[in-house]
């Protein structure tokens, strides 16, 4: 706990320093301090996880707030670890990212002061979110987190689309916090006050409408996390933000929503089955739709943003399996489910940040996010491309990378349910496995498209002369993340070891054996993952051996003998995704621009697809429009005529007088 507090203090001093120190020191100093803070926090978190049990410190915060307990238990510690890690690397990457001037506005160093201030504030508030266990204080930290991220999203505020993104984000966050406020008030109203540690008792009191309140919390936290149908802010905000911010937000900030949900689960005790099923349905929908929308995107960062929705869905499946396990009193299933969810939080924060950073590196060179204008990046930016491919493999859950481990845990939860004796559990588990498989496949399609179209092949438009891998401040974090992705994939035991205490806390499984069978499975997996690497290396060696002394020529790609191939003849992202989109059209609200080629020598032809979002089109817009129409129907109130104004008063007076006199 002490380490934790020290770390946060360091981070905050760093962010404040960004405001005061001279311009050219802002980024370095604040990044240095917050990096140090993050490291310290990681130390504290690790110690907390290994020691086990909750470290409590009660801060008395004046007459209004009263005593605010800071609790660092296994769950908080794990999230704190992930947050600190992501923010550490994100901050370092950011210094490099911002050094290159964003187009259309001079990045005058003093402008960056506010940016790094917000960055530090975001880091600190996220970390605090995981430990503050006082409803009101929690909400304040939560909102400060939202605000800090909001300001980071609008960093490049002179761009027009930023207005839309920022407002949408702000309003969504407000809706979310409204749900949270209501939830906390309901709980607090039952005499629990503001202290989380009393909430469990309230939730488990049979008179308390626990499921309804859980749903309230789920909605509130789910908006932040980006579950469908309330994810609409996400694909807007992430492209608008600078890439390191996108990485941090998509990598870890949305996970604070997951943290919130898990925290509520700890209060919930034994949830009803229906609740777990509801969570599973929402999660499945998020996973599938998220990836389907991602496939339809051409904007690289928007695509990655939609993948956050998908991964949140996978995490949600884990949580759902966990809750199902709790509901059926099957601690092992619960443990595996929660472990998968919690570990996937860390994994996703690693590979998603990696992907966003690589995308950012590309964006800095090409100044476009449109994949159709990319291509052939790998030849000029090999490191970036390689790392992006690693990230892609990881996010598709392919061995030997980290994504597979957490997904395997969720699968494990599913197939341990499968061999059980409860028909519902068997059915649900089978379906969960099918959904996970489907999502994995679609993710693979999506990233095959991204890597193939954007990074491989031939450039679709002339590349700028400075088209090369970014400097070390950007490359370092990416490399580190790539290594982590591989490391966790090859040696999953350690990472799972970090996640298991939190999972035990959630599963409330003190009954479980100290050494879990899943650990052995992980041994096998790590052997095979290592085997994959070794075998590949061996085959490459064999290949070299075979080719020694044999002719190895290069020639242009086979083009059916038509010698004048142009880059524009490559398969485009739209065409690559077309077969899938044809199948998923119903949920896409896809609008297609098609101009058929005409005549023997067609002058022009056009095929574009622009994905919509059914939730926006069919769920949110109608509500907003109806409300809007309803309200604007009352504009006659302010008609400008004095008589009418006085008449209102007269009517009001008459009514109230009569009412007062009669009642």
């Amino acid at each position: 706990m002490d380490l934790f507090v020290i770390g946060i203090t360091l981070i905050l001093t760093g962010s404040l320093a960004a405001l005061v120190v001279p311009a050219d020191w802002k980024s370095r100093l604040s990044t240095l301090l917050s990096a140090a803070g993050c490291v310290v926090v990681m130390g504290g978190a690790l110690r907390a996880i290994w020691n086990g049990g909750a470290e409590v410190r009660v801060v008395s915060a004046g007459p209004f707030f009263g005593d605010v307990p800071l609790v660092l238990d296994e769950l908080s510690a794990f999230f704190a670890l992930a947050i600190a890690l992501t923010c550490l690397l994100g901050g370092i990457y950011g210094t490099g990212y911002l050094r290159v001037a964003p187009e259309a506005a001079p990045a005058r160093p003093e402008r960056l002061g506010g940016h790094f201030f917000c960055l530090g504030l975001l880091t600190a508030s996220m970390l605090l979110v995981t430990v503050v266990q006082h409803a009101l204080a929690f909400l304040i930290v939560w909102e400060i987190m939202s605000l800090a991220s909001f300001f980071l999203v609008v960093t490049e505020h002179w761009k027009e689309d930023v207005v839309d993104a920022g407002l949408n984000y702000l309003v969504s966050m407000h809706v979310g916090v409204v749900c949270l406020i209501t939830g906390f008030l309901f709980v607090g109203g039952r005499g629990a006050g503001m202290d989380f540690r009393h909430f469990a008792a309230v939730f488990q009191d049979p008179a308390f409408p626990a499921p309804e309140i859980f749903i309230l919390f789920f909605v509130g936290f789910g908006i932040k996390a980006g579950f469908v149908p309330l994810q609409t802010w996400l694909p807007r905000a992430h492209p608008a933000a600078p890439s390191h911010v996108s990485g941090i937000m998509s990598g870890i900030m949305i996970k604070t929503g997951i943290y919130g949900i898990l925290r509520v689960v700890t209060w919930l005790g034994k949830p009803p089955v229906e609740l777990a099923l509801a969570v599973l349905v929402i999660a499945a929908a998020s996973a599938v739709l998220g990836v389907v929308y991602a496939i339809a995107q051409h904007d690289l960062k928007r695509l990655l943003a939609y993948h956050s929705v998908e991964n949140i869905g996978i995490i949600g499946l884990g949580i759902g399996m966990g809750m199902l396990g709790l509901a059926y009193g099957a601690p092992m299933i619960a443990l595996l489910g929660f472990a998968g969810a919690v570990l996937h939080v860390l994994n996703h924060s690693i590979f998603k940040a990696l992907l966003f950073y690589a995308a950012g590196a590309v964006y800095r060179r090409l100044h476009t996010r449109d994949m159709e204008r990319m291509g052939g990046i790998a030849r000029r930016m090999p490191v970036t491309a390689a790392l992006f491919i690693v990230g892609s493999a990881a996010i598709c859950g392919l061995p030997p990378f980290n994504g597979f481990v957490s997904e395997f845990l969720v699968y494990a939860a599913a197939f341990s349910g499968l061999v059980g004796q409860r028909v519902a559990l068997v059915l649900v588990s089978a379906l969960v496995m099918a959904v996970l498989a489907l999502v994995g496949v679609l993710a693979l399609i999506c990233f095959a498209k991204v890597c193939g179209v954007a990074f491989l092949g031939i450039p679709r438009q002339p590349q700028p002369p400075d088209m090369r891998d970014p400097g070390w401040s950007m490359r370092g974090p990416m490399l580190l993340l790539g290594v982590l992705a591989l490391l966790i994939g090859v040696l999953p035991q350690a990472a799972v070891g970090l996640a298991l205490p939190a999972a035990r806390l959630l599963a409330g499984a003190s009954a479980l054996p100290a050494r879990l069978p899943v650990i052995d499975l992980l041994q096998r997996i790590s052997i095979i993952a290592a085997g994959l690497i070794v075998l590949t290396a061996g085959l490459m060696a064999l290949r070299r051996l075979l080719l020694r002394g044999r002719p190895v020529e290069t020639f242009r790609t086979w083009d059916c003998g038509y010698g004048a191939g142009t880059p524009r003849m490559q398969y485009t992202a739209s065409s690559f995704a077309a077969p899938v989109l044809a199948l998923t059209n119903p949920v896409l609200a896809l609008e297609t621009k098609l101009e058929q080629p005409a005549g023997f020598f067609p002058e022009s032809a056009l095929f574009e697809t622009h994905p919509g979002n059914i939730f926006e089109a069919w769920l949110i817009q109608p509500v907003v429009n109806r409300l809007n129409r309803f309200l604007t129907r009352f504009t006659w109130i302010q008609s400008g005529s004095t008589q009418r104004y006085i008449f209102y008063g007269l009517v009001f007076l008459a009514v109230t007088l009569v009412w007062m006199a009669v009642v």
Binding site: P63, H157, E160, V171, T182, F634, F652
Partner: protein, 473 residues
């Protein structure tokens, strides 16, 4: 003694200024009075005192007094540059100064007076003293706004007077109209007349306070008057009217007649929220938008008061939050008007590019009003929601939060359109001295301090005020 200074200084100074007719003297006096006001209010906060039977500092009005002084201090300093820019002739310059002094004097009087009749006189005085400001720009629109302001408020005031007469009827000849007296003998009051009196008073002062449905004059007046005056109008004038209602409401409460009064307050509050929601969605003029948001916040305060208990604490806290936040927004709006020369939202783009400080002040002011932490409005709305829940009206949370969200969206839309984006190249950044930023920064800083780690004194201030209204945490 101190109170006497507060009340009399403007009158004396006004006469002198009329003689002097020197701009420097005017500005100096405005500053002097502002500082004096703050010093004395703080002093009175530490040692409450009274003047005659007619003026006294008690737990309730000290809160209002302090808000008034702090806000007036800021506004006064903002005036330093504003009056320089205004290019008024010495004569009008002097009159402006005098009206400002008198306006503030009347509001102080309203806050401090212990007698209903006296309070009423001062409220009327505020109308008279503030009307010239609304006519400041001298064009048709200004005239119309002034006419509506004066006429509607006069009718309101007149009806409030009726209310007072009815109240004194219920008091009979045994009880005077001193609040203490009324409070002490609440049981002797005749309920019938009391209940008849309340609607009149509620409507009368409610008109001045800008509660729907008798809010109609407010947007016009606040939009037409110069920025610093809008700040005062919205930041303190409304509060003073509220104080009148609170005083009488307290009497109703003690007399055990509050049940319906509460319902009335809550109803008016929600109506105000609704009105704001309707007009903030489609607003074109950013000063009008701020005015509507004043209506909204008065509505919130009314709701909190009506709910009682924690709600009253929330209302008092919200009063502080709104006054300072709204004042800073209006002052910032003054800067924007200076840069762009238009009150139309459509005419303002890329504020952050034109004048960063103003832009950020604009955004932060909005956040302060939109109840985002670390601003205290968040705490007050949280407590208000809690009060609604404690009252057992869980369903009420739905319209409550729905309307608030709509308002957040409406305001946020305009605010961001103005702050973000690329400015029209023709826009010229006007010279803006430090005094055009300092007050807002000051206000927002105070708010952050209150909202993030409410210091014990502030807490006591609010809590005492709430307790003296029979509520509190």
């Amino acid at each position: 003694m101190l109170i006497a200074i507060l009340i009399l200084f403007p009158l004396v100074a006004g006469v002198l200024l009329l003689g002097l007719k020197s701009k420097a003297a005017n500005v100096a006096t405005i500053y002097l009075y502002a500082v004096l006001h703050l010093v004395i209010s703080v002093w009175l906060w530490r040692q409450p005192s009274s003047l005659l039977p007619f003026f006294r500092v008690d737990n309730l009005n000290i809160l209002f007094l302090l808000v008034l002084s702090v806000l007036y201090l800021g506004v006064a300093f903002y005036h330093g540059d504003f009056l320089k820019q205004s290019g008024l002739s010495p004569r009008w310059h002097t009159w402006y100064a005098i009206c400002l002094l008198l306006f503030n004097c009347c509001m102080t009087g309203v806050i401090l007076s212990t007698h209903l009749g006296l309070l009423w006189v001062f409220v009327e005085g505020t109308t008279l003293a503030s009307a010239p400001f609304i006519y400041y720009e001298g064009n048709k629109a200004a005239l119309e706004a002034t006419w509506k302001y004066v006429f509607i408020c006069s009718v309101g005031i007149a009806l409030a007077f009726v209310g007072i007469i009815l109240l004194s009827m219920s008091a009979g000849d045994t009880v005077s109209l001193f609040f203490d007296d009324l409070g002490a003998n609440a049981d002797k009051l005749s309920p019938f007349w009391l209940r008849l009196a309340f609607p009149f008073i509620l409507m009368g002062f409610g008109t001045k306070m800008g509660l729907a449905p008798v809010h109609a004059w407010l947007p016009d007046a606040h939009a037409e008057s110069p920025a610093p005056i809008s700040a005062v109008l919205s930041g303190t004038l409304l509060n003073t009217a509220l104080l009148g209602i609170l005083r009488v409401y307290r009497v109703m409460d003690l007399a055990g007649q509050a049940a319906q009064a509460r319902i009335l307050l809550v109803a008016m509050g929600f109506l105000s929220l609704f009105v704001c929601a309707v007009f903030v969605l489609k607003n074109r003029n950013y000063k009008r938008m701020l005015a509507y948001s004043s209506i909204e916040n008065m509505g919130l305060i009314a709701i909190g008061t009506g709910l009682g208990g924690v709600g009253i604490f929330a209302a008092m806290l919200h009063l502080v939050a709104h006054s300072l936040g709204k004042a800073s927004l209006f002052l910032t709006a003054g800067n924007i008007l200076g840069h762009y020369g238009t009150k139309e939202v459509a005419g303002v783009r890329g504020l952050l590019r034109v004048d960063r400080t103003t832009g950020w002040l604009w955004i932060f002011g909005f956040l302060a009003l939109a109840a985002f932490p670390p601003f205290p409005a968040f705490l007050s709305e949280f407590l208000m929601a809690g009060a609604i829940l404690d009252g057992g009206f869980a369903w009420m949370l739905v319209p409550f939060f729905l309307l608030l969200t709509v308002i957040l969206f409406g305001m946020g839309h305009s605010i961001m359109q103005m702050a973000f984006g690329d400015p029209n190249p023709s826009v010229r950044r006007q010279r803006t001295p430090l005094v055009n930023y300092v007050p807002q920064v000051l206000f927002l800083a105070i708010l952050v301090m209150v909202g993030l780690a409410m210091p014990a004194p502030v807490y006591d201030l609010v809590q005492r005020a709430a307790v003296s209204l029979g509520g509190g945490r």
